[in-house]
């Protein structure tokens, strides 16, 4: 079967359009965050004026959080979400047309892996926004505060993929021509996307924790817009949930990879460099889950372990794929 180069062309055009829309949504979300920050600061000032200063700075700072920050009409966030949705649709179109042009699943090399993986992240974010919205105001958090932290990385991923990993749409080499490509790599993409979302939540959690500590010791943590985000405990819970699902996905990736290896290389485990790193990622996530149950290691230290696991994942994708020799030489760059 030959490659349909016109459709491949369409896929690239859609991708460029999607990136433009992501850029727009990133700017709108960032503007919304900045505005939120200003508003929270203004409210703090008003409150301090009302209190007449006699209560003292430290006590004041601690009470800022109690006023819901979601009351404001958020035009920036609304524009950001519309643009983001548009971008995700274009992105989806790009992924689908890429697959159509080569008559196979669109994840046969590093470029396509990044293209499809970032789409999963984008869709995951939109699902979170819709669910938070349906949970209603008040109780449900407005997940759109995360928009900047999703649109930015998705845009960066696409940019790097286009710049450094781009390969033209093409048929598969025989080594990849197997239905295990569909299973193994799809699960790996889902695991990677979930780990990425888990990582974002962890970074926010660690930031909030730092700010809460500063505030508890009477300091001013700065970054007022962060007050709009959930607190460290809630973020930890979100990060854990994402990481736990990602861990199960990694487990499936390992198992499916081993089954494929038995078919393709006659041996289910070769300690090939890519296998080694997938194993390392798995063990570090296991450390993270263990740490959460080990006294003295839960909370912040466990969170750092999940950051380490994510770093290993990036290393596996960006460094091992390209620079380490091995059987998994399908990067296509």
């Amino acid at each position: 079967m030959t490659v349909d180069e016109n459709v491949a062309q369409v896929s690239n055009l859609l991708l460029y359009s999607a990136m433009t829309a992501y850029l727009g949504s990133f700017i709108a979300y960032a503007a919304d965050l900045a505005e939120g920050g200003k508003e929270i600061k203004a409210r703090e000032v008003r409150r301090r004026e009302r209190a007449g200063g006699e209560a003292g700075e430290a006590g004041e700072a601690g009470t800022v959080l109690t006023e819901p920050a979601t009351a404001r009409r958020r035009r920036g966030a609304a524009v950001g979400t519309s643009l983001f949705t548009l971008a995700a649709l274009l992105h989806l179109g790009s992924v689908v047309s890429r697959g159509v042009s080569v008559h196979r699943v669109p994840w046969g090399n590093m470029f396509e892996f990044a293209l499809t993986g970032s789409l999963v992240v984008a869709v995951g974010y939109l699902v979170a926004v819709v669910r938070a919205q349906r949970a209603g105001l008040g109780g449900g958090r407005d997940a759109r505060y995360l928009g900047t932290f999703v649109a930015g990385p998705v845009l960066a991923t696409l940019g790097i993929a286009l710049r450094s990993f781009y390969v033209e749409a093409a048929q598969l080499v025989p080594a990849l021509d197997s239905y295990w490509l569909v299973i193994h790599v799809l699960v790996a993409i889902l695991a990677t996307a979930l780990s990425t979302l888990g990582f974002s939540a962890t970074v926010l959690q660690l930031t909030q924790e730092k700010r809460e500590r500063v505030r508890a010791s009477g300091g001013n943590p700065g970054g007022a817009f962060m007050d709009a985000l959930p607190g460290a405990v809630e973020l930890e819970r979100t990060a854990f949930r994402l990481n736990a699902v990602a861990f199960v996905m990694w487990t499936f990736t390992l198992i499916a990879g081993a089954v494929w290896a038995q078919v393709a290389w006659n041996r289910y485990w070769n300690w090939d460099s890519k296998e080694v790193w997938t194993f390392v990622i798995w063990v570090v996530y296991a450390c993270y889950l263990h740490a959460r149950a080990t006294r003295g290691w839960d909370g912040r230290r466990a969170a750092w372990l999940s950051v380490l696991a994510f770093a290993c994942m990036l290393f596996n994708y960006l460094v091992v794929n390209i620079f380490f020799p091995g059987l998994h030489s399908y990067a296509g760059v």
Partner: protein, 602 residues
């Protein structure tokens, strides 16, 4: 996923010991000085202390982290097991570092003493940790749900309600509602009213145990794979037949050898290869590798034809035959000075590049020159399937398929070294003892032939003819016992993991008292291991179902804590939305957790 009470208590006991300065070592010393009669106990005590340390969560965590770190060097240094050529290259390139890496077992990390020590300790720790837990858990499964708290309305998560039905009916209905929610239930009638105690999610712990025990099974399966597996590589040229036990290279675990290979034979009928020729950016990318073979499982058995492709191995019993490579074997005929054919056959050349620039040699140990003197001839060179002129002016291959096959070789005479019995690489000439054959101008004599061409060697050494090209297949013949077991244990481990991570563990109590003006006063209270976002929904749901079961409509809002739905717990009554998170160590860690602790410390 909560710690068992055991683990907690062990940790606490250890810390208590440390605080008392009563570390066994210290006590041993003191024991000898002041209370000699206590001394015989010390070693036992010490062993117990070590055991407890080894099986503690902190040690397990440490060993797990060590395992991750220890696995890394295996990806930075080439490994003997999967890349022996890489090891040889690395050793040649790093003459000072290589002996050290060798001494530290860096070329076979995963069978090294230190890597083995880490995982063996880890698994001892695991068994020591999990087996006692399994005992506790089994006993827990048989025992009744926990005692009803004296005042359930003190638990952070509770709802109070007034129901019209009498206490007996309410109790009965509460029991069946909770059973319907897959709780383990005990109804405890009292003189006035009574209570229902219910617990669910104990299979969270079963899942955890299943996960860890399956890891032990997986380890054993993998160990048996490496002990009893064998692997042989064999190169077969089109038209040739490979007989089971003759290999170019063979490796096996200690529990296997060549006699375990089935006595099959395999003829390579044809090798079907295709490369991308149309799409300009992908020219030369491989598109199809397929070996059409005729297999005979044992002498005398009927033959069958099969196609072995990448990702489609063939099977002979439990032995798997897979296509691991392919290349070209030019048919080279050498006649010596007397005109006798001294070499005739397809000679496999090893591809070096994506365009199949391939290197190979021909060794002719028994030739005579024109004068009838014995002479040994060696030919060395490259085969180019689609020869063009490269950027540096030398011939290279521009495409992997046979568009313009050319053989480029140089000739040597002298001692090929075949007689001293030292095994030789059939793909290389050992240069010592050989002199290059020169042309009249004193330059190296170059052989450059297209199929069907011949060339006369200088000095009456004879002729070399390039008669044609055949393809060959490299076949990997391997048996890996234990693979099914490994798969089964990994799937069991995954099942256990999912249960252990996502099954919420909750206790619910319903206390019923007769109300002053008739009917019943009901309190539904819940408690979870860890930080359970779905607990509030569970408690709400139980009360709502209880009302429905009794046919009583819901009046306004019931007193008690009114939960707001957490994100991600939308769209149902949240029964499954536990996450076991503890949020521990984070500021503002929860009362729910404190509650769980107190309750467990019962």
């Amino acid at each position: 996923m909560a710690r068992t009470d055991e683990t907690h208590l062990d940790d606490l006991r250890d810390e208590y010991r440390d605080a008392q300065g009563a570390r066994p070592a210290a006590r041993g010393r003191r024991g000898r000085a002041s209370a000699p009669r206590a001394a015989p106990l010390a070693p036992l005590e010490f062993a117990r202390y070590c055991w407890r340390q080894l099986t503690s969560m902190r040690t397990a965590l440490f060993l797990l982290m060590l395992l991750a770190v220890a696995a890394v060097p295996g990806s930075t240094f080439p490994q003997q097991g999967n890349d022996p050529a890489g090891v040889a290259r690395w050793t040649a390139e790093h003459p000072t570092a290589a002996p050290w890496v060798e001494r530290l077992q860096g070329f076979h990390v995963y069978s090294s003493a230190w890597f083995s020590a880490i995982y063996i300790l880890l698994f001892i720790s695991l068994i020591g940790c999990v087996v006692p837990r399994a005992g506790v858990h089994l006993r827990g499964l048989r025992s009744a749900p926990p005692r009803t708290p004296a005042r359930p309305e003190r638990l952070p998560e509770h709802r109070a309600a007034h129901l019209a039905a009498d206490p007996q009916r309410v109790l009965g209905a509460a029991g069946s509602v909770l059973r319907g929610r897959r709780f383990r239930v005990e109804v405890r009638p009292e003189e006035r009213g009574g209570s229902v105690a219910a617990e669910r999610g104990h299979h969270r712990e079963s899942g955890n145990l299943l996960f860890h025990l399956s890891l032990v099974g997986l380890l054993l399966a993998v160990a048996s794979s490496s002990l009893f597996s064998y692997a042989g590589q064999r190169l077969v040229v089109e038209g040739q037949t490979a007989v089971g036990t003759t290999f170019d290279s063979f490796t096996s675990g200690v529990g296997a050898d060549e006699s375990d290979v089935p006595p099959f034979s395999m003829r390579l009928d044809s090798m079907d290869v295709a490369f991308e020729a149309r799409q300009t950016s992908q020219i030369g990318e491989p598109r199809r590798f397929a070996a059409n073979v005729t297999l005979t499982e044992a002498p005398g058995e009927p033959a069958r034809t099969e196609t072995i492709r990448v990702n489609h191995p063939a099977k002979v019993g439990g032995t798997q035959l897979s296509l691991s490579g392919n290349g070209y074997a030019p048919v080279i005929v050498v006649r010596d000075g007397s005109g006798a054919v001294v070499q005739d056959g397809a000679t496999p050349f090893l591809p070096q590049t994506g365009n199949y620039d391939s290197t190979g040699v021909v060794k002719v140990p028994d030739a005579v020159d024109a004068a009838g003197r014995p002479v040994q001839i060696g030919l060395q060179g490259v085969f180019l399937p689609s020869a063009t002129v490269g950027a540096d002016g030398n011939p290279v291959s521009g495409f992997p398929d046979l568009a313009n096959p050319v053989l480029v070789m140089q000739a040597f005479t002298g001692d090929l070294g075949l007689d001293d019995g030292v095994p030789q690489n059939v793909y290389e000439l050992d240069g010592t003892g050989l002199t290059q054959v020169l042309d009249e101008g004193g330059r190296p004599f170059a052989i450059q032939l297209a199929p069907g061409e011949s060339v006369q060697l200088p000095d009456g050494l004879g002729t070399v003819s390039f008669e044609g090209v055949q393809r060959y297949a490299s076949i990997d013949v391997r048996r890996t016992p234990g693979q099914t077991e490994a798969l089964v244990f990994s799937l069991l481990a995954t099942t256990g993991l999912v249960l252990s991570l996502f099954l919420p563990r909750r206790r619910v109590w319903v206390r019923v008292r007769p109300a002053a003006g008739g009917g019943s006063d009901v309190v539904v209270a819940g408690l979870a291991r860890g930080n359970d976002a779905g607990l509030a929904f569970e408690v709400d749901g139980v009360l709502r179902r209880l009302r429905r079961a009794l046919g009583e409509d819901e009046p306004g809002t019931a007193p008690g804590t009114a939960p707001s739905p957490p994100p991600g717990a939308v769209g149902d009554d949240g029964g499954e939305h536990d996450d076991g998170a503890r949020g521990a160590g984070a500021p503002g860690a929860h009362e729910a957790r404190a509650g769980a602790r107190t309750e467990e410390g019962r």
